[in-house]
Assembly symmetry: C2
Homo-oligomer: 358 residues x 2
């Protein structure tokens, strides 16, 4: 009974880090007899270069057919100036999220004890940090219509986007978040701007409604500006945060950076059946692409998350996570997490070390 | 030749902190012969309680007639559950911003050397921090229409807001930011989400256009998620940041919190002639209202900013800022900025100390 895993290297450092994750997957595949069938497809800028489209038809078909997807990253300055907004690398990523209805984005921000020094925050503020941000991923202002640039009277151009959620969309991401909180420390903070935006008034209302289904979970609400502040001031006050697509984009990046090791953080984007796409929290880092400087661990840990959540292979996932912990204990570091006394390694040396530790 | 200064205490700690700023203003008024005429009006929750409206007609008239406005803060849980969205304290604040066309919001994030320890970030990351966030304040998703909550087929409720900017709105805030950068370190970073939102594609385009008028200013662009990350990672890379209303709300709060002393940060909201409303960056802190714990220094420094920018009284402004620096040197601290070896004082003791130092 084989499982199809689709690898989408993407752009920038994407190919390098996915190569390392592939090594690791092939190793556990053999060792644990997982029956994984790995294949690759193009998405983002590399797909534009090859086919003219950020999400070619055959990639979308492969995504739909796959049991799980592992993505590197998309985007880069090379494609940023394309005047046709539909032909941007990001549209490939957004297209997969939307077409596969991967509405539930789980972004953990965890401080690795071995990397405590890497945070720009004081140790007492972040030591032991373990937050989960649940971000809605297929709605909100990312996908709302109408959208575009139009001319008003006098030929004045005006850009516009629509921030929209219906109660069903809010309810389904709310349930993901309440369930996640239930499995953790039972504290859920819903982030909105309900003092200004009507769409988030509805958001808050639905979260309040859901509370009745999860009496064991403590629900609180916070305005997004305050949440950005509290993440800097006292991040450990949070357990699970749930928010919309745009606020989630901003807050999850801030939260990830609190750990000082965004090169270590995996993420999952799930549909209603638990099928998912897994990717590192960091971006495509075009400035260091091809130099062997990228940290492959977030992608390797994303592969572990994939094994656990979409492929029901918890044992193999544990093994990968332990191997990562072991290479950190051995003092191996890519440049992004390097500190005094540690040994600097390249992207592929790091991947090899994880395989050796397995 | 007298000048009318309107004080709007507002809600929560607003009245306490404005009382202290008033003491300071009265003192410099007498000392420097400024000819200021101080008056007060109600806004926000306290105006709702008194008149049923967050921005009573007479307050708006007084705002229009004033030469400058000093606001405490608005909002609190008491009014948060009002089902009528138009009767919320925040609508009073938003109404003044909009009616007076105070589109240019200047939010400095400065680390006071005396309070370096107060930051949750490591000293080397934030020492000497001095960023200015220029936030567009009368457009974007805060004011965009259509907006509301409606029913779709099947009675499903849907909330919606509109994120909209025209090129003139972008150009005028862009000029404010370029001018500010020119007067500082000549680096301007424009923050958008141009890889996803069309409205910010136009934003980026207009900022690029303006560059030709300011060849001495170095313009860069950053996505909002990355900006949130970079503020945590290496905030000193920034000089001036310019962004829209919603992103500015989030990023300016995060930036303010980097300093660890949000109770110290003033802000200005200016119209095209330099008339302005001045207010502390922090909120109404209802949890500590009436307890003498609030830090009045952000409001006092806002009064100084008002004297400098709207009333052309730079000398009096300097005197206030020096007095604030002096009380910090004396070791006086409200609870929010207290540290070992310093003397804890109440809101009014802090105000008195500034007056004494003048
Ligand atoms: C690349 C971009 C479209 C994407 C987003 O904004 O969702 C990224 O920032 C992310 O967070 O996954
Ligand atoms: C009170 C609220 C409406 C306001 C805003 O969102 O603009 C506040 O957060 C601010 O930043 O001044």
């Amino acid at each position: 009974m084989s499982k199809n895993v689709l690898l989408l290297p993407g752009d920038g450092i994407g190919p390098e880090i996915v190569t390392e994750a592939r090594k690791v997957l092939e190793n556990v595949n053999a060792k644990f007899g997982l029956g994984l069938e790995l294949s690759e497809a193009k998405v983002g800028g590399s797909a534009i270069d090859a086919t003219g489209k950020p999400l070619p038809e055959e990639t979308l078909t492969a995504c739909k057919a796959a049991d799980a997807i592992l993505l590197g990253a998309v985007g880069g300055p090379k494609w940023d100036t394309n005047p046709d907004f539909a032909i941007r690398p990001e549209k490939g990523l957004l297209g997969i999220r939307s077409e596969l209805e991967l509405f539930g984005n789980l972004r953990p921000a965890i401080l690795y004890p071995q990397l405590a020094h890497a945070s720009t925050l004081k140790e007492e503020v972040v030591s032991g940090l373990d937050i989960l941000i649940v971000r809605e991923l297929t709605g909100g202002i990312y996908f709302g219509k109408p959208r575009g640039v139009r001319e008003k009277e006098g030929g004045i151009r005006e850009g516009y986007n629509t921030y929209v959620y219906d109660e069903n969309e809010i309810r389904r991401i709310g349930r993901v978040a309440f369930e996640a909180a239930r499995a953790r420390n039972k504290k859920l903070c819903s982030v909105d701007k309900a003092n200004v935006l009507e769409v988030t008034v509805l958001w808050r209302e639905i979260m309040e409604e859901l509370k009745a289904e999860y009496p064991d979970v403590e629900l609180s609400h916070m305005y997004v500006d305050n949440a950005a502040m509290q993440l800097v001031r006292a991040p450990k006050q949070f357990d699970v945060i749930v928010t919309g697509n745009m606020f989630g984009d901003i807050l999850s990046d801030a939260a990830a950076m609190l750990t000082g090791s965004i090169g270590m953080l995996p993420s999952a984007s799930l549909d209603k059946n638990g099928k998912g796409m897994y990717e590192p929290c960091h971006g495509s880092a075009p400035d260091i692409a091809g130099q062997g400087k990228a940290n492959p661990l977030a992608t390797i840990l994303s592969a572990a998350m994939m094994l656990r959540y979409s492929l029901d292979q918890g044992e193999a996932a544990d093994a990968i996570e332990q191997a990562v912990s072991k290479v950190l204990d051995q003092g191996l570091r890519t440049p992004d997490i390097l500190s005094a006394g540690m040994r600097q390694v390249s992207t592929s040396e790091m991947g090899d070390a994880v395989v050796a530790a397995l």
